[in-house]
Amino acid sequence: MSTPYVLLGLLRKFVKGAAVGVAAGITVADRFGSVVRLSGRSMQPTFNPEDTGFPSKDIVVVEKFCLRTFAFNRGDVVAFRSPQDPKEYLVKRLIALQEDWVTVPGTYEILQIPKGHCWVEGDNVDVSLDSKEFGPIPLALMRGRVVHVVWPPERFGPVENKYPTGRVFSGKDGR
C-alpha cells in the first residue's frame, strides 16, 4: 500500500472518530448534564464572589434530568434561556412556582405567579437582571439545574438550595 492510501485511511478514521465524539458529546450535554462557565456578578456570593471585573469565572455542573418532568423546587439554582434574547442563557435562583404569591423587591406589590410560570432572582439583588425586570417567566424556558461547583477548587461542592422566607406564600401547588 502506498503512502497516500495510508494517509487517506488515517484521515477517514480521524473524521469518523470526531463525528462520533461530537454526537456523543451533544447527546450527553442535552440529556444528562454539562459543565459550563459562569460570568457576571448577578449570583454573588454563590458564584463569582470576588469578581470585580477581573475574569474570575466559576465552572459549574448543570444537570438536565429535571427537564424530563420540569419538577423544580423553590430555591433551586436554574439555568434558562433569556426571555428577551433567545441566544442568551441566564443562571438565577428560582424563588416561586406557579400559583405562589411573591412580593416584588423594592416595591410593596404582591403578585401571583401565573400557571406554568416561575419567579427567578439573582442572589445579588442590586445588579441582577431577573424577574423584577421581565416578570414571571415560563417554566418551559428552563435548560437545567445548577447542582455543583467544580472550579475554583476551594469552593468545590454542591450548590445549596435556599430561598428568602417570608417573601413567598405558597399557593395551591405547594410542594
Partner: protein, 163 residues
C-alpha cells in the same frame, strides 16, 4: 473460557455501535429534523383534529430564520410538558391586531416585545394562543413545521401564509 471472552467482546462491540447509533439519532432528531404529531382543533383548516403527522425542522429556528406566517411548534408557556402547534403572526417589534376572544372583548393593537413572538392558531374560534397568554418568548419555539406527512392526501409542504 476463550469462547466466553469472544462472546463478551462481541457484545461490547455491538453495544458500542448501538450507542453511537442512538447518539446520532438524538443529534439528528433534536437539532436537524424530527417527525411530530399535532393534535387538537386549533390549526383547522390547515391540519386535522385527529392528529396529523408533521415534519419539524430545527435549523431555521436555531439560526433565527423564522418569519411571520410560518407554522411552528413551541412549548406551551402555561404547561412546559405540552407542545403546541401555531402560526407566527408577528416577530419582535411587529404590530399585531388582535381580534377579541369573547363577545364582549374589543380589538386590541399589541406591539410584540423584544425577544418574543406572537403565536396564533388558524382556527381563531377554538385556539388557546397568544390572545390568552400574551406574546411568547422566541426561545420556546422548538421547530418550524415544513412538511405534512400524514394523511396521505394532504402530503406536501406546509406553506408560509402571511396574515
Amino acid at each position: 473460557m476463550a469462547a466466553w471472552r469472544a462472546l463478551m467482546k462481541e457484545a461490547w462491540e455491538r453495544s458500542v455501535v448501538f450507542t453511537q447509533f442512538l447518539c446520532f439519532l438524538h443529534v439528528f432528531s433534536n437539532h436537524v429534523c424530527q417527525v411530530h404529531q399535532c393534535l387538537g382543533p386549533s390549526m383547522l383548516p390547515t391540519f386535522n383534529i385527529a392528529g396529523d403527522i408533521l415534519l419539524l425542522e430545527h435549523l431555521s429556528v436555531k439560526f433565527e430564520k423564522v418569519r411571520s406566517g410560518d407554522v411552528v411548534m413551541a412549548r406551551s408557556p402555561v404547561n412546559p410538558r405540552l407542545m403546541v402547534c401555531k402560526r407566527v403572526l408577528g416577530l419582535e417589534g411587529d404590530r399585531v391586531t388582535v381580534l377579541p376572544t369573547t363577545s364582549k372583548g374589543q380589538i386590541r393593537h399589541v406591539v410584540v416585545p423584544k425577544g418574543h413572538v406572537w403565536l396564533q392558531g388558524d382556527n381563531i374560534y377554538n385556539s388557546t394562543d397568544s390572545r390568552h397568554y400574551g406574546p411568547v418568548p422566541y426561545a420556546l419555539i422548538q421547530g418550524k413545521v415544513c412538511y405534512r406527512i400524514w394523511p396521505l392526501e394532504g402530503w406536501g409542504p406546509v406553506v408560509n401564509r402571511s396574515p
